[in-house]
């Protein structure tokens, strides 16, 4: 995994807002909206001028801040029950506190002992990933998969029909099963994945599950050479970091 160098770049708009509140030593329950809005917007401008890719979420929060600010300028109406109207900041405060809770939880988890950093366990040292990585492989697209699937379905033709009990199979269940299987076996051919006994219903569910996983890019399908079996494996490690820009 790559080391990531982090300057004063924030995990998101809420993170930036929390930072400003801390920096100004402001009571989170009584945020001076116009001050914070001003600072928030000047940060965004600064980030823009540094040519940083600014995620749309930052602008959404800027709009929210301005909206709250405008509401704060309106006179407060007393309702009939004598209760004050909702503080326009309440929802934002709730969001900030919630985010802060999890940010702190994340920091605490960071301090916990972590596998492969603070302690280690035995593992099989056979480098399975290298195996797939060394040889040139060809990525398989959806259309090729559909073709392969049709071949399998066609091949079913003369098999005797076997009625299976209808069970509560679902695509999400197949997804978890498939992932478990792939983690255990590392790579499976398309045929193996569809499994035996071939039952139409199961085939369809399995295929849908495979498509879903490929869409999420959790698994990849590839071929070592033309006409070889199509193989499926869990996608190679990618940097977990770069979100926000996705």
């Amino acid at each position: 995994m790559d080391y990531r160098i982090k300057l004063e770049i924030f995990e998101g708009p809420l993170d930036l807002l929390l930072y400003l509140i801390r920096k100004n030593e402001i009571d989170i329950y009584d945020i001076p909206i116009s001050l914070i809005t001003e600072q928030y917007i000047s940060y965004i401008d600064a980030m823009k001028s540094l040519n940083l890719d600014l995620a749309g979420e930052y602008l959404v929060l800027a709009a929210t801040l301005l909206h709250i600010k405008s509401r704060m300028l309106l006179p407060v109406h007393e309702t009939e029950g004598g209760e004050e109207e909702d503080d326009p900041r309440a929802e934002l405060v709730r969001q900030l506190l919630e985010y802060r809770t999890f940010k702190e939880a994340a920091l605490e988890m960071e301090r916990m002992k972590l596998l492969d950093r603070d302690f280690f366990t035995r593992k099989d040292t056979g480098d399975d990933r290298a195996d797939a990585g060394e040889r040139p492989v060809r990525e398989i697209g959806v259309f090729e998969l559909v073709e392969a699937f049709q071949r399998v379905i066609a091949g079913m033709g003369d098999m005797h029909i076997m009625e299976m009990e209808r069970n509560d199979m679902s695509v999400s269940q197949r997804i978890s099963e498939m992932l478990d299987l792939l983690r255990e076996k590392k790579t499976l051919t398309f045929e193996e994945l569809l499994g035996m006994p071939r039952e139409r219903r199961q085939l369809v569910y399995t295929f849908l599950a495979l498509l879903e996983l490929m869409k999420m890019r959790v698994v990849r399908a590839f071929q070592r050479a033309p006409y070889e079996a199509i193989r499926v494996c869990v996608a190679a490690e990618v940097d977990v970091g770069g979100d926000a820009q996705e």
Partner: protein, 178 residues
């Protein structure tokens, strides 16, 4: 059973994932569960008392040998790798999943205020997060939860061992503001 402790020690040593009492029961057909648990506790105690390079830890519903913390830099050198790390984004996302599971991607995004597609995919690939099902609402969105590997990686027996959140107390206070 004679030599029970020796056998269990070997089994735990050779296993690549935490070995559960149930699995041991399955392997050691006629041995009562109580004896297995006693042997495990005895072994864990022996390793703890020895205070050496290896410990027997109870994690993720099973037992596993783990190395002493102070050896970490040398093990990394031996394996020629960098230490496992998670970015702050990944850690925050993981925290929301861990405490809020089963949870929708949308819920995580509401807490964090950013898109989490890439982070979530990374966590799925690292096998720290898994799909646990689909919510029964229109569109059947995917629900996420943590895996056994997550417990293993963070040294937890089960989810109840997660540190307590700086409690919902403050969230409640915020609600009284509304």
């Amino acid at each position: 059973m004679k030599d029970l402790k020796i056998i269990i020690e070997s089994l735990v040593y050779i296993s690549e994932t935490p070995l559960s009492v149930n699995k041991l029961k399955e392997l050691l057909v006629d041995v009562p569960e109580k004896d297995i648990r006693e042997a495990l506790a005895g072994l864990a105690d022996e390793y703890a008392r020895r205070d050496g390079g290896i410990f027997l830890a109870e994690v993720a519903g099973g037992y596993q040998f783990r190395t002493a913390e102070l050896s970490a830099p040398w093990i990394l050198k031996l394996r020629g790798g960098k230490p496992a790390t998670l970015s702050q984004a990944a850690m925050e996302t993981l925290a929301v999943v861990a405490y809020r599971q089963p949870v929708l991607k949308l819920d995580i995004e509401q807490v964090r205020g950013v898109d989490v597609s890439a982070t979530l995919r990374g966590l799925l690939e690292k096998n720290l997060v898994r799909i646990v099902g689909r919510k029964d609402v229109p569109g059947k969105p995917i629900l996420y939860g943590t895996t056994k590997k997550f417990l293993e990686a963070f040294n937890l027996r089960d989810l109840s061992e997660l540190p307590t959140l700086r409690e919902i107390k403050e969230l409640e206070e915020a609600e009284s503001l509304e």
